[in-house]
Amino acid sequence: MKSLHDFHPLVIFSYFFAVIGLTMFYMHPILLIISFTGATVTSFLLLKKSFLKSIKWLLPFMLVAAILNPLLIHEGETAILYINEQPITVEAIVYGFAASVMLIAIIFWFSAFNAVMTSDKFLYLFTKISPAVALLISLTMRLVPLFGHQIKKIMYAQRAIGMDPSSGSVWHRIKAGTRILSILISWALESAIETADSMKARGYGLKGRSTFSLFRFDRLDGFALSGIFILFIIQLLCSYFGWNEFYYYPTFSPIVWNGPMIFMTISYGILVSLPIFIEVLEAFKWRSLKSIN
């Protein structure tokens, strides 16, 4: 068993691609609630404290969306009150609420995705698409902190001879600021020569460059990927047959618990709760390992 972080980047990417993609298209309240619950629990498991912090501003956002929609949209049959002779309908309120639930579910899925899909995993996937661009990204990621460090050094040196871009008259600040930038640029150009030498010295530019990565696709990754693929295809088929259809206007379509509906709900539930299942199982596993040792 492994935790979500340890799966192959391809598995992680496909999973989030499937879940986020489906969440974006499903407006059916049951499916929305499933996705929302899954997203909340998953990102809580992965992010813990920072997740709790993010809730603070998401809840008010949800309420605002629920209020804003009925003020702008006046469709729907069940009016509860009139403002300026325009009806405020229950349908519009519910629709606004549903849309904001969808939006927040997507945000949560993305934050979980961000936590799992670190830059090197992302880069690895990119390498498969375009090795040259991926290498370029890797070089740039190296340069950004390097420049940051150098600009700090230059700033210190300049401040100690009285060229401080953070104080003095506006003219002085502009002068000091441009001078720091100019020093950084000459330094960058000079040092690029040395970096280029180091690349040339190690055979960069030879024909037939290969790419290497630390990630390995093992059996468990295979299982997970095929599981995700099957569940995703099932959802696509269900949608093709229109089993996920639900109308908010003019009034709500009824939710009938027939065979197809139950099948779709359960299979979607399984897909959405995969990460929770993996994380919880992993936690239990460690617990039992701890009690043995």
């Binding site: 230059i154 210190y156 000459s186 190690r202 290497f212």
Partner: protein, 551 residues
């Protein structure tokens, strides 16, 4: 057949009037550890670059270079890239990618190896170099020593036959430098790797080299075993600036004109000294700093972040008028941070800094940096911005006589029309120092001023600092260079764990240390406890010789 055969190599840069390399002929056998040395600008880096085809500079070349019997220009590209490894001077600029493991695999990817081979070779090298503990780290998070080790390892994965290094330890602190040299020795001894190394810190590499080649103005003036090469150098020119860079035991032996076998290591030097000289109990007389206190640091505490640990813990020290205080100590003990605190770049959360009897925080910035305190940063290029050296100086002051005075003091008149980036490291530093001096600081702060300088440039710097000191400037220097500090400072202090743990005049201070002291002191402490510099040792030995000849 030799691994490298150079025959009558001549080279001159475009537009240069004199050739940079003249009639270079030499052979390097497989498995040799060759040290190439010479003063800056003697052509040693140019010669090295000729051994690595991808880096060979443009210009007029004649003569031939053969690698394994094949002319270098006929070597297939793939072989040229992998068989000859090249490590450059600056650790951080050679690193190309953002992850340690990716950097290690970079060369092999270029050569087009498959994943399984790369995985295995990378694993092998990471274990050999002890990289496994930081294998998955970002390259930015490494220390200077780790970065240079990574550069070496990422060359070694390509399994080269010849390893060329251009001053690889010049940017490292002494401990990281010795570790790096030890790794080179291990590669040479255990894997039989051929190594050609350019260095100016010879104390450690000189004894382990099989052969030393000394270059002077583009010509080979010595090419022999370490001891013979040194003797040869002395015969060519008794005042050759390169002699300053030789290891201490050798220099002492030369100066005392002894004719027996030359000692190379500290251990041999000790035995040799004991054989010829007797213990005495003289004490070197040194003056304690006595001038007015210009900088007073009291109970300083500092941390970078509220939740971080304190980096400076209750620091106390004073700097007197005309004093040259040097602070030594390991990496990350807070030396550079201290400089930030006393120059007002960082703010302490407790304690106070007083400059000329006025609190540092009461100074207006203009007042402080115009004529009170100035800092020469570690990297001189952080101060250089103009197209010509004279413009650099002109922007600091409108007073032409002041500029002339600084130019004369630093002896940089011949550099005025050049672009700062075309200068050598030592020259760049002089220009940067000139800019700082034009602010007329009463207190001059130096951050590792001898880093990357050769023996001669260090002497020049020392002379300038002495001149300033005699004019009444107080100097505070942070350094790793124990030798420089012992020879030129008027007082020395040891920094550890955020405070100064010991302070004293150089001889008293260094003779009190056991490990953190000069090579000279380590060599002669059993005879002359108080001697810390080579000159002192030579003088002491000479006085004994005189006494003996009189008797």
């Amino acid at each position: 057949m030799a691994l490298i055969e150079i025959n009558q190599l001549m080279f001159s840069y475009p537009l240069a009037t004199k050739p940079t390399l003249k009639n270079i002929s030499l052979e390097i056998e497989a498995g040799e550890f060759v040290v190439l040395c010479g003063t800056s600008g003697c052509g040693k880096s140019t010669l090295l670059k000729h051994l690595k085809r991808e880096l060979t500079p443009h210009g007029q070349t004649s003569g031939t270079i053969h690698f394994n019997g094949v002319a270098l220009q006929d070597l297939p590209q793939r072989e040229a890239a992998s068989q000859i490894g090249y490590v450059l001077q600056k650790p951080e600029l050679q690193i190309v990618t953002d992850k340690v493991w990716h950097e290690l695999s970079f060369g092999l990817e270029n050569l087009g190896y498959d994943s399984m081979t790369i995985r295995r070779r990378v694993a092998e090298m990471a274990s050999f170099f002890g990289i496994q503990t930081w294998f998955r780290k970002n390259t930015t998070d490494l220390s200077g020593g780790q970065k240079q080790l990574l550069n070496l390892a990422s060359i070694m994965v390509m399994q080269p036959q010849l390893l060329i290094l251009d001053e690889p330890t010049s940017q490292l602190d002494p401990i990281a430098a010795s570790e790096f040299i030890a790794t080179l020795q291990k590669l040479n001894k255990e894997l039989g790797l051929t190594i050609v190394l350019v260095e100016h810190r010879l104390e450690e590499v000189y004894p382990i080299a099989d052969r030393v080649i000394i270059l002077d103005a583009g010509e080979i003036i010595a090419n022999d075993t370490p001891i013979k090469a040194a003797t040869r150098l002395r015969h060519v020119d008794a005042h050759h600036p390169m002699l300053l860079g030789l290891p201490t035991p050798l220099r002492v032996h030369h100066a005392l004109k002894q004719s027996d076998e030359t000692p190379l290591t500290i251990r041999d030097g000790r035995t040799w000294l004991e054989k010829h000289y007797e213990k005495d109990h003289k004490q070197i007389q040194e003056a304690e700093p006595s001038g007015e206190v210009v900088l007073d640091v009291q109970d300083l505490w500092f941390r970078y972040d509220r939740h971080a640990e304190d980096l400076i813990r209750g620091l106390n020290f004073q700097l007197h008028q005309g004093e040259f205080l040097s602070i030594v100590g390991g990496n990350g003990t807070g030396k550079s941070t201290t400089l930030g605190l006393i120059t007002g770049l960082l703010k302490p959360h407790r304690g106070k800094v007083t400059i000329f009897n006025k609190l540092l925080k009461k100074y207006a910035k203009k007042e402080l940096y115009q004529g009170m305190i100035s800092m020469l940063p570690q990297d001189p290029t952080t101060l250089l911005v103009e197209k010509e050296v004279q413009l650099e100086l002109a922007m600091m002051s409108k007073d032409q006589t002041a500029i002339d005075r600084v130019i004369n003091l630093l002896q940089i008149r011949h550099l005025l029309a050049q672009h700062p980036y075309d200068l050598s490291g030592g020259e760049q530093q002089k220009v940067a120092l000139g800019k700082v001096l034009l602010k007329n600081p009463k207190i001059l702060v130096l951050d590792e001023p001898t880093k990357g300088l050769d023996g001669e440039s260090k002497q020049v710097l020392a002379r300038i600092l002495h001149d300033l000191q005699s004019q009444g400037t107080s100097i505070l220097m942070v350094t790793h260079d124990v030798e420089f500090s012992a020879e030129h400072a008027t007082s020395c202090a040891m920094f550890f764990d955020g405070e100064i743990v010991a302070k004293g005049t150089p001889a008293a201070f260094y003779s009190g240390n056991h490990f953190y002291t000069t090579a000279t002191n380590r060599m002669c402490r059993q005879l002359f406890e108080d001697v810390v510099t080579t000159e002192q040792l030579i003088a002491r030995c000479q006085s004994q010789q005189e006494v003996m000849t009189h008797v």
